[in-house]
């Protein structure tokens, strides 16, 4: 049985939580991710920046009624990485 390596970017609690939320919706605001993950704004900010750096998510900054708004969206690369991560997990779980 061959072990598939777990993607270190996704094998982190908060980043995996963010990716799991984003894979379920079309796009989500920063506040939505913060509410669902119970993370602090600082930590969440750092983690979504890491996901953006590797191209797993897209971050759109805009203004809504004069308030800054950060919208996050999973990219096609992110979807592939997430699917591969789940497949790798399954290979461990079926042991």
């Amino acid at each position: 049985m061959e072990f598939k390596e777990l993607d270190p970017i996704l094998h982190s609690q908060l980043r995996l939580a963010v990716m799991s939320l984003l894979i379920s919706v079309k796009e989500a605001e920063f506040t939505f991710l913060k509410e669902k993950t119970n993370a602090t704004s600082g930590n969440l900010s750092v983690q979504i920046s890491k996901l953006k750096e590797v191209g797993y998510i897209e971050i759109i900054k805009q203004f809504n009624n004069n308030y800054p708004q950060t919208i996050c969206k999973i990219t096609p690369e992110g979807i592939i990485a997430f699917e591969n991560y789940v497949k790798a997990l399954q290979s461990y779980m079926t042991l």
């Binding site: 777990l6 799991s20 939320l21 379920s24 079309k26 605001e29 993950t37 997990l89």
Partner: protein
């Protein structure tokens, strides 16, 4: 959420829990079902009363009020989109289902009037009502909408056997079953989810 080393089992549990959290967000408040349900019901009652009791043949003018609600709906949807913190795939698909319904409805009414087939307009409207209501019920996994959509088709068949004067009563019954009752149930669910009960 603190950072810690995840085991494979914890990873799977985390993924499942987050997907469920995103899935369980109740985004349908039922407001548009209620706005449209009550307006159409009112139009049907006014038209039937005007025709049946006062012999007023122009009572169908009341239907022009739907254009006012259409304009209101346009601004309402824009406001809703701006205030929503998440956009789901189901919400997007549902939006397109209702857009297709609106376009088809306008075309069906236009073609029926063009060929002067006035008596089939109401049964066809009922067939049209059933389609997006039923599909929304499937998309939102909400049984009252599925039942409401199916009841529109039953009313469509029944309305084919009565004169156009009485057909408006079948539309009234259909909007109660398809939009007003499910609308209040959706509103109840939305309030419940909003309060975190």
């Amino acid at each position: 959420m603190e950072e810690k080393q995840l085991s494979e089992k914890e990873s799977i549990e985390l993924i499942t829990s987050m997907i469920n959290k995103a899935k369980n967000k109740v985004t349908e408040s039922g407001a548009l079902y209620l706005f449209w349900g009550w307006l159409i019901l009112l139009c049907c009652i006014v038209q039937f009363t005007g025709l049946h009791f006062f012999n007023y043949t122009n009572s169908y003018y009341v239907w022009y009020s739907t254009w006012v609600l259409l304009i209101f709906q346009f601004f309402y949807i824009i406001k809703q989109k701006k205030s929503s913190s998440v956009k789901s795939y189901t919400g997007e698909i549902n939006g397109f289902v209702w857009l297709v319904f609106f376009i088809s409805m306008v075309l069906v009414i236009f073609i029926s009037i063009h060929f002067k087939y006035y008596e089939i307009i109401y049964p066809l409207i009922l067939v049209m009502y059933g389609m997006p209501t039923f599909l929304s019920g499937i998309i939102l996994k909400f049984k009252p909408l599925i039942i409401g959509g199916a009841s529109c088709w039953v009313f469509a068949i029944l309305s084919s056997f009565v004169t156009s004067e009485y057909q408006s009563l079948f539309i009234a019954a259909a909007v109660i079953a398809a939009w007003i009752i499910p609308g209040y149930l959706l509103k109840k669910n939305y309030k419940k989810a909003d309060n975190g009960i």
